[in-house]
Every structure is written in structure tokens, then in C-alpha cells.
């Protein structure tokens, strides 16, 4: 498989291999000269139809550290504003010469659709509320790096907040459970998916009841831009029930960690300054993001793709 679209398409063995490859890339990033010629001559186009800071810069850095050339594209500064379609945009860029498209779009399924229009590798950098597979890879790596071991067997992970609108949660749940962790989603029923049949998770509506026995507290951003009706009565009430504050941090298990995919809503889901808590891995996630994306780019463009097979 030459694309990286959805954690569901990647089996456990391939996922662990990608984590091992991420560890190798992390070693490259610790070198005095963190750059290797592996993808010299390859062109990676980052095509973002939706705003992003860290994902885009992270992919950009990852591609450059592997010596690929990077073609940047931002919808707001492009001919999309003149009415050019996604398909025409992709075909235009491909005519210039692209080996991999890194695509973000506000609608689920766009990266998968682009595979039909292009011979290049397609990497999903977030599509609507569907998937964000490189985030799941960097999150899994960050957890594995912290707790050690080959996978996440035996770890209890609470994903807290706006699961309904979260592509990060969907990808993370698939990756964490494939790697052996048990996952509980926590939030008000309005912010959890209406139907969790088939989801390998437990559901909980009280943050305080999971805080003491989770190894990982994974806070999600309250996605105000995706909300078209009132999902929470007020931000203050949400913060009180589901925000991470000092008192909740103090009740966390010894050795447990806090994660957040960013960007944070301070005073909403994050009521504590992460710089003030010793067990926050939030910046570690950002650092590891570059290594994880290098692993994906190298696997697709330099090492023949990801072996097929679900499971």
C-alpha cells in the first residue's frame, strides 16, 4: 500500500514496524546534523485546505530532514479562491511533479478520493472528523517511548472531551487498542459519538471517576469551529466538569501522563498551564511528530510502502 490514509487499514505488525522506524528517525533528529539524503529528488506537496500550524510545519520539517523537496500549498492563497476544484488543483500540482501529497481537508474522505486522481502517494494529514493517522502514530510512539516496551499492552488510556468531532480520537482509539491498550472515552453525551457500537472503548460521563486509574489522560480540544448547534451549555460548565485543572492533576495516578494534540483551549479543556505540571508530554508529542512523519514518508517513498492486510 503506497498511501497512508486510515489506521484501520494498517495491521498491528506494520504499526509496530512504523513505531520502530520512528525510533530510528528520532535518532537522526538527535544527531549534530539532523538530515539524511534518503529521499533526495523526491517531491512532497503539502496541500492544506484547512488551517494548521503544527501538522504542516511538522510534515515540512520531516520531508526536509529526509532531503525531499517540499512544495507548499495553502488554499487561502491559491486558485481555489478563483473557483478551481480540488481535482484540478491536484492534477495541476502533479503535472509539475509530485511523489507524495500530504492532504488536509475539512471533509472526511477527501484524501481517499484523491487517490483516484493521482499516481502519487497520498498521506492523510486530517480529514474532517474522520482520521488523522500520523497523529495516532506520534501519540502511540510518545506513549511507548515513555512507558517502554514493544507496544501499549496493559496501559489504561482515557480520551477526554470532544470525541464526537475528533479525528484524532478516532485514529488514536484504533491505534491504541491495536497496540493492546484499553481506552475509555470521557465526555458529556452530547460530545461523544451518538453510536459507539463497534468501537473498542468503554464510555464514561464523569471525568473524576477515571482520573485516578488512568495511565494516560489524553485531553481533546473542544472544537468550537465544528459545532453547529449547542453541544455544551456553557464553556464554564464544560471546564468545570471536563477541564483538566490543578486538583484533577493532583489526583492522577503516580507515573501517569497528560497529552493533548494541540492547539489547546486554555481555560476550557486545559485549566492548568502544562508548563507547570511535570507529567505533561504535550511538547514531546510535537517533537516526536517530526520523527513519526519522517517514518511515514520514508516508508512510502523509500521502502516500498506499507504491507497490505487488516487486523
Amino acid at each position: 500500500m503506497k498511501h497512508f490514509l486510515d489506521i484501520a487499514e494498517i495491521n498491528r505488525e506494520s504499526l509496530i514496524e512504523l513505531l520502530d522506524l520512528t525510533a530510528n528517525m528520532a535518532e537522526i533528529n538527535r544527531r549534530p546534523v539532523p538530515k539524511v539524503p534518503a529521499l533526495r529528488g523526491k517531491v512532497v506537496a503539502t496541500v492544506f485546505f484547512e488551517d494548521s500550524t503544527r501538522t504542516r510545519i511538522s510534515f515540512d520539517t520531516a520531508a526536509k530532514r529526509l532531503s525531499a523537496d517540499v512544495m507548499g500549498f495553502t488554499a487561502s492563497a491559491s486558485s481555489i479562491n478563483k473557483g478551481e476544484s480540488i481535482r484540478d488543483t491536484i492534477e495541476t500540482l502533479e503535472a509539475i511533479g509530485v511523489d507524495a501529497f500530504v492532504i488536509r481537508h475539512k471533509s472526511g474522505g477527501v484524501p481517499a478520493t484523491v487517490t483516484k486522481w493521482s499516481d502519487a502517494s497520498i498521506i492523510n494529514a486530517g480529514d474532517g472528523a474522520n482520521q488523522h493517522p500520523t497523529q495516532a502514530l506520534l501519540d502511540s510512539y510518545t506513549i511507548r517511548e515513555h512507558f517502554g516496551g514493544q507496544d501499549l499492552t496493559g496501559l489504561r488510556i482515557a480520551i477526554v472531551g470532544d470525541v464526537r468531532h475528533s479525528r484524532v480520537a478516532r485514529s488514536d482509539i484504533q491505534a491504541f487498542t491495536k497496540l493492546g491498550a484499553s481506552v475509555t472515552i470521557v465526555g458529556p453525551s452530547t460530545l461523544l459519538p451518538s453510536d459507539v457500537t463497534g468501537w473498542p472503548v468503554e464510555v464514561c460521563h464523569e471525568f473524576d471517576s477515571v482520573i485516578g486509574d488512568s495511565d494516560v489522560i489524553y485531553m481533546l480540544r473542544l472544537q468550537r469551529e465544528r459545532m453547529n448547534s449547542a453541544f455544551v451549555p456553557s464553556l464554564e460548565e464544560y471546564a468545570q466538569r471536563f477541564g483538566l485543572d490543578k486538583s484533577r492533576v493532583n489526583r492522577m495516578r503516580a507515573g501517569s501522563i497528560v497529552m493533548h494534540p494541540g492547539p489547546m483551549n486554555r481555560g476550557v479543556e486545559m485549566c492548568v498551564d502544562p508548563a507547570e505540571i511535570s507529567n505533561s508530554l504535550i511538547l514531546r508529542q510535537v517533537t516526536n511528530g517530526v520523527s513519526a512523519r519522517m517514518a511515514v514518508l520514508f516508508k512510502l517513498l523509500g521502502a516500498g510502502g506499507i504491507p497490505e492486510g487488516e487486523g
Binding site: 530510528n24 539524511v36 534518503a38 523509500g302 521502502a303
Partner: protein, 173 residues
């Protein structure tokens, strides 16, 4: 067609070669700085460690440093064949000005050594790099020659050569 595996080097021969290479390294670098041994991932790393142990027995000052270099990201055949980069580099010291002994198990086309030399450069500019290999099987495709050789073994380009502490085996294909 059944393939045949021939032992060309016994476990005992491997130990003897490693000890001899250690002596040659000392002789060559008698008046210079203490060399740093760097094994090429993955086949060269155990040999680098074995040479270090042999040097420690001879010199007994334990001053020899030993590391590993992964050349996978510097290869010239990336994309032409599946690459499994399952090993990483660990370089114990800044290599600027150092005498480096690059160690691998088998010297064949020379392409791995070229990639390793390029990878080494990212850790500093060594004063010089010398190459030690347990087996030189010929068929060079680049102008690269070893400084220390355990054994020269004539092979066909299609033969498979495998090296371990148990010996050196050639399988005709």
C-alpha cells in the same frame, strides 16, 4: 536445483582473524591517537565489539570506544529495493579529528561502505577513516579498498555469504 553451503571459515578462524586485525590496527596506529571503532549496522557491530574486546585484552587500558553507524538512509539504492531500517546509529564521541576504524562483516560492491562514510561525516570530520572487514568477497563497484581483511574469499556475484561468530559460509546460487 539444490544449493550447497560451504564453510570457508570456522568459528576458531573468526576469533583468530579478529585478534589478528586487532594487532594490525595497533601496529598501524602505533604513534597516532587511540582509534574509535564504528561497526556498520547490522552485520559489522558485533565484529567491532569483538575487535574492541581483543584490543582491550592486548592494551588493557580500556581506552577504545566503540559505536555503530546505520547507513540505510544514505544508500544509493533507496526505492530500488525494500529497505528495513531496523537499526540506528550510536556514536559515542565527536568524530572531528578522530581516527575511525569502520568495521563491517563482508565487503562486496562497496556501496554500503560509501553510504557509511557519508553517514559518518554527519558526526564530524574524522582525521582519517580506515576500513576493517572480516571477509572481502570481491566484485567491487566503487573505488573502495579495505585496510584490514580477515580473509579474501573468491565468490561468484550471485553467491550468498553469511558471517557469524559460528564461521563464514558461502552458499552457491
Amino acid at each position: 536445483m539444490s544449493s550447497t553451503v560451504v564453510e570457508v571459515f570456522s568459528a576458531q578462524d573468526v576469533i583468530k582473524s579478529i585478534t589478528r586485525i586487532a594487532h594490525e590496527i595497533l601496529e598501524r596506529n602505533a604513534d597516532g591517537e587511540t582509534p574509535v571503532l564504528i561497526g556498520v549496522q547490522s552485520g559489522g557491530t558485533w565484529i567491532a565489539k569483538a575487535i574492541k574486546e581483543a584490543l582491550d585484552r592486548i592494551k588493557s587500558d580500556n581506552a577504545i570506544l566503540c559505536g555503530a553507524i546505520d547507513a540505510g538512509m544514505h544508500r544509493d539504492d533507496i526505492g530500488m529495493r525494500p529497505v528495513v531500517a531496523a537499526h540506528s546509529s550510536s556514536i559515542p564521541v565527536d568524530l572531528s579529528g578522530a581516527t575511525v576504524i569502520l568495521v563491517d562483516d563482508v565487503l562486496f560492491t562497496g556501496r554500503t561502505v560509501r553510504a557509511a562514510l557519508e553517514a559518518l561525516n554527519e558526526y564530524g570530520r574524522p582525521r582519517c577513516v580506515q576500513l576493517a572487514v572480516l571477509v572481502d568477497r570481491g566484485h567491487r563497484e566503487l573505488p573502495i579498498r579495505p585496510d584490514f581483511v580477515g580473509k579474501n574469499i573468491p565468490t561468484k556475484a550471485t553467491d550468498e555469504v553469511s558471517v557469524s561468530a559460528d564461521g563464514v559460509f558461502v552458499e552457491a546460487r
